[in-house]
Every structure is written in C-alpha cells, then in structure tokens.
C-alpha cells in the first residue's frame, strides 16, 4: 500500500481546465461551419482527443499520480489505436 500523500488540486486549476474544455467544445462546433471535407472529422477527433487528455491528466490526476498509471494508460491507448488501425486496413483495401 502506498503511503505517499495524495495530491489535491485547487479549485483554480479545476476551473481553468473546465474553461479550456468549454473553449475546445466551442471550437469543435465552430469548425463544422468551415468546409474542410474529410479534415472536419479529423479536426473533431483531434480536439476530442485533446479534451480527453486534459480530463485524464488533471481531473483523473494522472499527471500527479505514480508513473505506472500513466504507463498503463498509454499502453491501453496504443492497444486501442492498434485495434482501430487493423479495422481501417479493411476499409482502405475493401473499396
């Protein structure tokens, strides 16, 4: 069992991250008004990934926790990326 004291984030930090998340949400909506064809989806996914990263790092304390949890999360993301990648191979080659 870990005896390290838990990191406690202040309200100020939480509010700042919340502000950034709201800003990114507004950008997500705004960018749909710009005609970028396939890049619209890529942009939406990129912003969503950015938001998820912020939530993981700050709201879920990954930034302040032991490194092993960060490594586990990154490994899981690699796994999911690989699963999506293999699925995409089918779509690229099927049509």
């Amino acid at each position: 069992m870990s005896k390290e004291p838990n990191h406690i984030s202040g309200y100020k930090d939480h509010l700042m991250i919340l502000g950034v998340l709201i800003l990114l949400t507004i950008i997500t909506v705004a960018i749909t008004q710009v005609e970028l064809t396939a890049l619209n989806t890529a942009a939406a996914l990129f912003i969503a990934a950015l938001k998820a990263t912020l939530v993981l790092l700050y709201f879920m304390h990954l930034k302040f926790d032991q490194k092993v949890f960060l490594i586990m999360t990154v490994l899981v993301l690699i796994l999911i990326a690989a699963v999506i990648g293999i699925t995409v191979i089918d779509y690229i080659d099927r049509y």
Binding site: V76, L79, I80, A82, I86, D90, I92, D93, R94
Partner: protein, 534 residues
C-alpha cells in the same frame, strides 16, 4: 493462522439474518456463492433449451416446435450460456471466492462494488429473459445480433441488447475489482511472482473485461439507436455498414472467449500441480502465456468474418494473427503435461476433470486451426463444424474447468466432502455423453450441414440421432454430478481443511473459511507450489 472457535462465513450473522443477510452481504465468499447459485440456475435453463433443440433435430422435419420457436430457442440458449454462464463463469464464482484468500487478503478491494456487480448481473439477466415475454416475440437473431437482420426483425431485440449491455457493466466492475485487489491487497511477501497462476489468469482476464467490454456495450447501444432513432450505423439502406457491426461485435466477443477460457486455464493450473505433487512446470511461461493470450486475443477477431466480404488483406492478416494466438495456448498445454512428468500423480476426481479438460480443449483447439485457416474456413464456415468447435472450447473448456473447480474447491467452500466414487462415475458418463453429443457435429459440418437451420436433408439424420443420444447421456452424467454434490452439502461429516494436500493459501485456513479468512494476515515466504511430500 486458523481459529476453530470463530463462526465460518456461512454461519456468521451480520446486521441482517437469513436471506437479507445474503442479499446485503459484502463478503466476497458469499457474493461468489450468490453468483454460483444464480449462474448455475441459468446454466440449467440453457442446458434444458439445448436438450429441446437436440430433440427437435433428432429427425428431419417438424418434431416438437415451429421454425420460429426454434430460432428463438437457439437465440436464448446462446444468450443464456454465453452472457449468463460462461463469460462471468469461473471468474465471478471461484475468482470472487478464492482470489482474496489466495492473495492473503480479507476481501476484494471494493466489497460494495462487488455486490453491485452481482445486482447488475441479475438485473441484466432479468432484462435478457424478459425479452422473451415482452414486445413482439422473443429475439430470433442468435446471440450475435448480426446487423442488418437485428435491425429489421420485428422481434424484441432492443430488450435483449439492453440486457447484454447491463451485463457488460457487471463484467467491467468485476474486472476492475480484481485488478485493484491484486495490485493493492497482496499479503506481505507475496511478490507478483509468488501469486498463484489462477490469480494471474484473473489478472489477464480483468484487463480484457475492462478494455473490451465497453466496445460491445457501445455496439449494442448503436443497434438500439438504429432501431429506435433510425441512425444509419449498420444498415446500408441508410448509409451504414453491416461489416462494421461485425468488426465492433467481434472486437469484444473474441476477447470474450479469453474472458471465459483464461480463468478456466487458471483452475487447471492449480489442480495439476496439487495432484502431481510438483511445482507447476514453467511458472513464468504460464504467466507470460496468459498475458500474451489476453494481448494477442485483441487482434484476431476478424477470423469470425472471413466470408463476410471483408477485404483480402484483412483476411490474411487476421488468419496469421489467429495462428499466433495458438502458441501461448499450446505453451499452457505443454506446461501442464510437463508438470505431470515424473509427478507423484494422485488419481482423484479434480485431477480427472483436469485431464478431461485437456482432452476436449485440444480437440477444440486443433479444430480452431481449421477455421482459423482462410482456405478451409471457406468450406466449414457457418456449418456444424463451427458449432462443434466452439462447444469443445467453450463448454469443453470453460464448462469442464467449472466442474473441475467445483470438485476441487467444494470441500473448502462448504466444509463437506462429496462421494468421490459417484463423482468419478458421473464424470465418466458426462465425458462420454459430451463427446457423443458434439463430435458428430464435426462430421456433419464437414459434410455441409449448415448451423442454425431448423430442418436438414435426410443424409444428415444419422449424425443428428447420435448427437441427440449423446445429449441424453451427458445430461444423465450432469444430474449425477449435481445430486452427488448437493448431497455432500447436506452430509454431517466435516471435510478436513486440506483434503488434497494443497499448497496455496486457501488450503491453510479452515473449511469453510471464517468471515475475514485470516485472523492474522499471513506473511508469504515462498512460491505458491511448494510440496513437502515430493
């Protein structure tokens, strides 16, 4: 370590007594038994449906039921057996009961969450079963809910899909609980390389439960959204892709096979050293193979889709990866047999079950290579060959290990020993019936009999008759086993604490265990498989 004066977990009276005491318990052992009683009841329902299906198929043409009833029957048989028995199966029952004890802990990391998992399991099961009686008739899609048929059928698919979704939450929470327990609650001195193999297989399983189950949850919700809101995910008529459904469904459902089989392999890995009086051969290799199965198992789902219209490059990639996953599975079998080599083997009931497991698992595994191979799969896809293969793996693997675990740990769970002679006779009948039931399906499949059909051509009659007779033999063996174990539970003579001379921690405490398992948390000084009488 043990104290005979304390009440065991079955006698212990908490805040509530009787049924309420059970329904509000947070004791991992009682929750394990709650899973056991509910799961075994569902198993008997699923088995009854299977017997009825076999009766219908004893001859061509209508015997007992109409085609639509048969379609509903095999759907419910699949849903019950897969989602309510084999997926939670060994992990939820024996994992709950024995994981904390094997780690030297008093309970799992989140006992209340553990109870919630059971309630979610029951809620999901009730929703799945209620789908049979509500709406426009029982679902007829098969347990896979393939689109676009599951979007078009007028039967009650949404309820069944939602039930499976709720069951997924139960599975995720159990996996989360077990992983945290292993990270946080191991006894002092129990390093990762001193954990029993059963715990390691639960660890690998837990990761699959956490990472793969959400995918099927979302997929099933997409089915519901498409049916209810008309969003075009999978129906080509409104811009969807039916092959995407298969990708998403099997991205979970193939790893789900490993959720079923990995804890089963863990059970076998506990039984074989105990009855060979030897440390398990290749402890590290067994751990690595468990993790490798869990990891590689994520990348083989496409072998369910070789004839779906998927791209050529994907097909050979998935075929190649499917062959790779056979390697860690074979490592386990070789390690089990190497453990037997020069062992002081004790031919007792759990050991026979373990041998039965290896036999049927090997047949299931080798037949899996036939359908993992692109060319041969084209011929046997959607035939009875596949039905035979997955029953050898899922029922032969997980089912045999479940019964092996019951016979291995029954004296510890209830403090009562069963009649081993009757148990051996029951096993022999069950084993014979199992092979007579399922082996003819390989031949029927090779000869071209399609699966899921209500009727068949006359040339398939012989195989179907043999198979149906096998189902009667198997169910006879099953009834003998159940009655024998149930009678043991009521017998007055107590089992000794360690009837098999086991070496893992559960055999070092009293039978049945006390509420908190250990009066003092043990300090671990050696590996899990060290036998003094070698």
């Amino acid at each position: 370590m043990e104290n005979k004066h304390l009440p065991n977990y079955l006698e212990y009276q908490g805040k509530y007594k009787g049924l309420m005491g059970w329904l509000t318990t947070t004791d991992h052992k009682r929750i394990g038994l709650l899973y056991f009683y509910s799961m075994f009841s569902f198993f008997l329902v699923g088995a009854t449906l299977g017997i009825l299906m076999r009766l219908e198929l004893i001859a061509p043409g209508k015997q007992l039921m109409e085609a639509q009833t048969y379609n509903a029957l095999f759907t419910l048989h699949g849903l019950t057996m897969i989602f309510l028995f084999v997926i939670p199966g060994v992990a939820a029952v024996f994992g709950n009961f024995f994981l904390p004890i094997m780690l030297g802990a008093k309970d799992v990391a989140f006992p209340k969450l553990n109870l919630l998992s059971w309630y979610l399991y029951i809620l999901g099961a009730l929703i799945v079963l209620s789908s049979q009686f509500m709406g426009d008739g029982p679902p007829d899609t098969g347990w896979t809910f393939y689109a676009p048929y599951s979007l078009k059928t007028q039967t009650n698919v949404v309820a069944a899909v939602f039930g499976a979704f709720v069951l997924g939450f139960s599975s995720i929470l159990t996996g989360l609980n077990f992983i945290t327990t292993m990270h946080r609650l191991r006894a002092p001195g129990m390093g990762w390389k001193r954990m029993p193999i059963f715990a390691w297989t639960l660890y690998a399983t837990g990761w699959i439960q956490i990472l793969a189950t959400p995918i099927v949850g979302i997929t099933l919700l997409m089915i519901a959204a498409e049916r209810l809101l008309g969003i075009g995910f999978f129906d080509p008529a409104i811009g969807g892709d039916p092959i995407l459904y298969q990708h998403l469904f099997w991205t979970y459902s193939h790893p789900a096979v490993y959720i079923m089989i990995l804890p089963a392999m863990g059970v076998i890995s506990e039984i074989i050293p105990t009855f060979s009086r030897k440390p398990i051969f290749g402890y590290t290799a067994l751990i690595i193979s468990s993790m490798a199965i869990a990891f590689v198992g994520y990348f083989v789902w496409g072998h369910h889709m070789f004839t779906s219209g998927m791209s050529d490059s994907s097909r050979w990639i998935f075929s190649f990866l499917s062959f790779i996953v056979a390697i860690p599975s074979a490592v386990k079998v070789f390690n089990w047999t190497a453990t037997l080599y020069k062992g002081s083997i004790r031919l007792q009931t759990p050991f026979w079950w373990a041998m039965g497991f290896i036999f049927v698992f090997m047949i299931g595994g080798f037949s899996g290579l036939v359908i993992g191979s692109l060319a041969t799969d084209i011929h046997v896809h959607d035939t009875y060959f596949v039905v035979a293969h997955f029953h050898y793996i899922v029922f032969g693997g997980t089912g045999f290990a479940f019964f092996a675990a019951m016979h291995y740990w029954w004296p510890k769970i209830y403090g009562r020993m069963y009649n081993t002679k009757i148990a051996n006779v029951g096993l022999a009948i069950f084993f014979s019936g199992f092979n007579i039931l399922y082996f003819p399906m390989f031949i029927l499949g090779l000869r071209g009999m399609p699966r899921r059909y209500y009727d068949y051509l006359p040339q398939f009659t012989d195989g179907n008759v043999i198979s149906t007779i096998g189902s009667w033999i198997m169910i006879t063996g099953l009834l003998i086993l159940i009655v024998n174990l149930a009678k043991a539970k009521k017998m007055t003579g107590k089992a000794v604490d360690d009837p098999w001379d086991g070496s893992t921690l559960e055999w070092k405490i009293q039978s049945p265990p006390t509420l908190e398992n250990f009066e003092e948390i043990p300090v671990i000084t050696g590996g899990p498989y060290e036998y003094k009488d070698r």
